[in-house]
Every structure is written in structure tokens, then in C-alpha cells.
């Protein structure tokens, strides 16, 4: 992936998608994005991973990037079809920004 300093990058490059791994994996992934120059990152999760997304944001903000703050938290429902049945799953998007 190309990275241009100062250019407006699409938010898609700044997303940390939370899965089933230990929370510190995601903290490090998010930290790496900030250290590469991102001013804003988005932490996304679905279903049971939602609590891990909140843990990731809070650990990052409290212990690693002290000038980061929670800019926005969105919750929503994603719907998809499996075997002709419609399933719904809750999701969260946490936007973290640096002060400067």
C-alpha cells in the first residue's frame, strides 16, 4: 500500500477490524497506524467482539497514545442472509483522533 505524507488518505486505510485474537494484537495494530502518521483511526467490530473493540480503544487511549481521544462512537445493525435466513448482528465503530 502506498503512503503519501500529507495527502488525504481514505479512511479505509485507517481501520482496525477486531476479531477473536487477544486485545493487545489490535492495540498494536492501531498504534502502528498512529505511528505511521494517521491522525484518525477507526476501530470496527461485530457481535461478541464489540467489547474487545472498546477495550482496544481504551487501552490505546490510556496507555499508549495519551493525546488520542474518542471522537465518535456509532452503533448499528448489519443484516446478511445465510441459507435463505436473514441474520442480524450488532456492530460498533469507534473513531479515535489525535489532538494535533
Amino acid at each position: 500500500m502506498s503512503e503519501s505524507s500529507g495527502g488525504s488518505r481514505s479512511d479505509l486505510g485507517n481501520v482496525v477490524l477486531i476479531g477473536q485474537k487477544p486485545v493487545m494484537n489490535y492495540v498494536i495494530a492501531a498504534l502502528t497506524l498512529f505511528e505511521r502518521g494517521s491522525k484518525t483511526i477507526v476501530i470496527k467490530a461485530r457481535g461478541k467482539s464489540i467489547s474487545r473493540a472498546v477495550d482496544t480503544a481504551e487501552i490505546l487511549r490510556r496507555s499508549f497514545v495519551s493525546d488520542a481521544y474518542v471522537k465518535d462512537v456509532k452503533i448499528s445493525t448489519e443484516t446478511f442472509t445465510v441459507d435463505n435466513k436473514t441474520r442480524s448482528v450488532s456492530s460498533i465503530e469507534i473513531t479515535l483522533s489525535k489532538q494535533t
Copy 2:
């Protein structure tokens, strides 16, 4: 005055605290608050219950109280001491309001 992260003290009567029970228990609890006349309710959870809090808000909003919307979502960390050790746990507060 005690510190409160939003809302006046009367909001304390409109809180649904999420625990380990099935999500529909909390949906019904929240629904009851709305039906008793509350215009705004707050869904709170800590740790692994956070994903259940999001489920509660989303099920309520999508299936039961169609004029309710997510007014605010706050995430934070609560710190407490157990056996002389400091523990931290993530928490969430979801504020739902009715349009009218």
C-alpha cells in the same frame, strides 16, 4: 455534587444495567421504561456485557420503539481495587431518546 457523565440526577431512574442474562430481559426492561413515559433511557454495561448492551439498544430501536434513536454513546474505563491490585474494566453508556 457527584460527577455524572451526562444528564441530570433524574436520569438515574432511567438506567438499564446490563448483566449476564439473555438480551431480551434487558430489551423488556428498557421497553418498560419507555412505556412508563421516559423520553430518554441509558443502557450501561461493563466488560464482556458491552456487546449485549449494543444488542439491547439495536433490538429495541429496530423492533420495539421505532421512534427511538441513539442520542449518544460514551465509552470509558472504570478502575477499582481488589486485593490491593488495581483493575480496569471498559464500560459503555448508550443513551436512547424518543423523537417526540
